[in-house]
């Protein structure tokens, strides 16, 4: 990539979502995502400009490439990617996955573990059933888990997701 194109890319980096940045369709699978990351590394890795005389270009490349890594980090992880997709398609069109998002996702995951022994056990059982394809029974089990933890928002959310998908 030539210098002008790179500077132009750096200038509009905050307008691109992760899919655009990596050149991916929204439905890309994990193989596509990894290949896209490799493709970007071949043209945008700061090592390619290590001995370049322009400090301005080097700092621009540094910013662009760190965003590439960030995009890869988020899209390759199903949970992060789901969370990101919700923000991206939501009313605010959030282009980046931030530290706050990470915190919230982690809290959800902790909650997802369940706060009561019965809730936790039933939730794990429900997840297992769901992954094995027995969706009806999974939903039934998750409903039971939810009766033990009526305030667990994550159980409710997961339940809605599954019911919608069924």
């Amino acid at each position: 990539m030539d210098v002008q194109k790179l500077m132009a890319l750096a200038a509009r980096i905050d307008e691109l979502d992760y899919y655009q940045l990596l050149g991916l369709q929204r439905n890309a699978d994990s193989f596509d995502i990894r290949r896209a990351y490799h493709r970007r590394a071949r043209t945008l890795h700061p090592d390619l400009f290590f001995e370049h005389e322009s400090e301005q270009l080097k700092s621009a490349i540094d910013r662009v490439y760190k965003r590439v890594t960030e995009a890869y980090l988020v899209l390759r992880d199903d949970d992060k990617r789901n969370y990101y997709n919700q923000g991206l398609t939501g009313p605010k069109k959030k282009l980046r996955y931030t530290d706050d998002d990470e915190k919230r996702l982690r809290e959800e995951k902790v909650a997802a573990g369940g706060s009561t022994p019965q809730g936790r056990k039933l939730f794990q059982e429900a997840e297992r059933l769901y992954n094995e394809g027995d969706k009806a029974k999974a939903i039934q089990t998750l409903r039971m888990a939810a009766t033990f933890e009526s305030k667990n928002a994550f159980f409710q959310k997961r339940l809605r997701e599954w019911e919608r998908g069924n």
């Binding site: 290949r35 090592d47 390619l48 290590f50 001995e51 540094d62 530290d99 982690r106």
Partner: protein
């Protein structure tokens, strides 16, 4: 042909230096033809220093003035387990200075661990400079993948003291993978099993032509070939005590002799079913000399070290888990580090991974070769590429989670381990009390949510914002990890709108003046041969 740049494998027991000369990556020998140089520094007196295999002889003859295995305590604090262990074993004094840093007292001189490492790096630099007949300053230096920021910073400072321009620090297993796959257009998933003198790393990598991506890494920085020697030494000390009622433990010189003999025996046991460990007159009292003489066979040795070998597979489980792969998903296993020559290691690795490891590479030299290739490739960037060598991209990860202290001794995760680098993440900090003048941020690395169970990288106060009610000041702090795995922190005051930026060096980094002073002092000492 432009300037040369070198790759240095700065090892716990041995170091090695490589260079790409006329388009071919090669390991640089010393004038006796050795490719491996003991990481030993000897101070014979005056302003002279001896480094390498010549210095190694003095470990026994002159233990007070001979430093070995400095890497084990480089970048560590005085209260760490490794420093305590070294204090018990070394003949020279290891003393504490401010901030729990450590210094070595040799005769009347005081050295930091960074200065000792710098002597080794300077020797490597000299060897390569003679080899290509050019004063070399640019280098890539390798570190164990599991090194934390303090250890990486100390390695970087060692390089600066040695007068090197450290282009990059790369992880040893990654360097090995580069040497293995460079220019071969491979499409493979491999595990790099790197058992060095003092550290163990396992990296799971995907090689996609010119891309070398680390999918997961884990390590144990308290486990290496040295520990194998130690097990055998302790075993023979106990046996000697049983047979003669003489305890060798308080006698450092005898112990040192035995340790060295055990290291030799370990190497011989890779090819011979049994070896004789013999030290004449190991103990002399009131004119009476007692010798030590024991036959040790492979089976005996194996039973002493099985537990150590098994520990490596816990690390393998962890790295594969992070990469979400099974041992059977791998196309190959590459062995790195001298101790991987041991049959017990090879057999256990073959069993764990369900395939025979790749033994086509020299496990002692492959890291330096990879570092040399990367150094060369960095120097060529931005210029026109020379014929034989094209770009290769190392996509590495951070081995440890980056955390910050919250309240009550707890920490909170900021950047998780195995996150690809370079990366950055910002967090907004605010005041918690009315009239608060400064915000204190403490940065840690580790996997625990308790402060004391993680390694403190540094702490800093952010001040100069407008003082007001609590929550009014908003400070955006950006934590980034660069391609060398070094952590940087910058802060920006969002409240005042002043784009006041400050870069915070974590506490372990030496200042420019300090480096210059130490570098000048190091240069005054003459590196001599034998």
């Amino acid at each position: 042909m432009g300037k040369h740049a070198i790759g240095i494998d700065l090892g716990t027991t041995n170091s090695c230096v490589g260079v790409v000369a006329n388009g071919v990556p090669t390991v640089v020998p010393n004038r006796w033809g050795d490719n491996l140089h003991a990481s030993v520094v000897h101070f014979p007196g005056g302003d002279r220093v001896i480094v390498g295999n010549e210095a190694k002889r003095h470990v026994i003859l002159d233990p007070d003035r001979t430093v070995w295995s400095i890497k084990r305590i480089l970048g560590r604090k005085s209260f760490s387990h490794e420093v305590k262990k070294a204090q018990a074993f070394c003949a020279y004094q290891i003393v504490e200075t401010e901030n729990h840093a450590i210094r070595l007292a040799i005769d009347s001189q005081i050295f930091s661990p960074e200065e000792i490492s710098a002597f080794i790096l300077r020797e490597m630099r000299n060897l390569a400079s003679v080899y290509v007949q050019e004063d070399i300053v640019d280098a890539v230096v390798t570190v164990p993948a599991y090194f934390n920021d303090n250890q990486r910073q100390a390695t970087l400072d060692s390089g600066r003291i040695a007068g090197l321009n450290v282009l990059r620090m790369i992880n040893e297993p990654t360097a090995a993978a580069l040497a293995y796959g460079y220019g071969r257009e491979l499409r493979q998933r491999v595990a790099i099993y790197d058992l060095g003198g003092g550290t163990f790393d396992l990296s799971v990598m995907e090689i996609d032509g010119d891309i070398f991506e680390v999918l997961g890494t884990a390590g144990d920085s308290y486990l290496g070939g040295d520990d194998f020697d130690l097990r055998l030494t302790e075993y023979l000390v106990d046996r000697f005590m049983r047979d003669t009622r003489i305890d060798l433990r308080p006698h450092r010189q005898s112990l040192q002799k035995l340790r060295e003999a055990c290291e030799e025996a370990k190497k011989l046991l890779s090819v011979h079913p049994e070896v004789l460990v013999s030290i004449p007159d190991i103990y002399v009292e009131r004119g009476q000399a007692v010798s030590l003489e024991y036959m040790v066979n492979q089976q005996e040795f194996n039973s002493l070290v099985t537990e150590l070998v098994q520990r490596t597979f816990k690390v393998c489980d962890e790295a594969l888990g992070a990469a979400r792969l099974h041992p059977s998903d791998l196309d190959g296993v590459i062995l790195v580090g001298g101790p991987t020559r041991l049959p017990i290691v090879r057999e256990a690795v073959a069993y764990y991974f369900g395939q025979a490891p790749n033994v086509s590479l020299n496990p002692d030299e492959v890291v330096a070769l990879g570092a040399a290739i990367h150094a060369h490739s960095l120097m060529q960037s931005g210029a026109t590429r020379s014929g034989n060598i094209g770009a290769a991209h190392l996509l590495d990860v951070t081995p440890l989670s980056l955390q910050i202290a919250t309240v009550g001794g707890y920490t909170e995760m900021l950047i998780e381990r195995n996150t690809p680098i370079p990366i950055e993440r910002s967090r907004i900090f605010t005041t918690v009390r009315d009239g608060q003048e400064r915000v204190n941020i403490r940065v840690y690395q580790g996997e625990s949510n308790r402060e004391e169970e993680n390694v403190l990288l540094g702490y800093f106060d952010f001040e100069g914002f407008r003082i007001g009610y609590r929550g009014e000041a908003r400070i955006e702090v950006t934590f980034s990890i660069d391609a060398s795995g070094l952590v940087h922190v910058t802060a920006r005051d969002l409240e005042t709108g002043l784009r006041q930026r400050m870069t915070v060096a974590l506490s372990s980094a030496l200042s420019e003046e300090e480096v210059l002073r130490l570098s000048a002092r190091g240069s005054e000492m003459e590196l001599v041969n034998g």
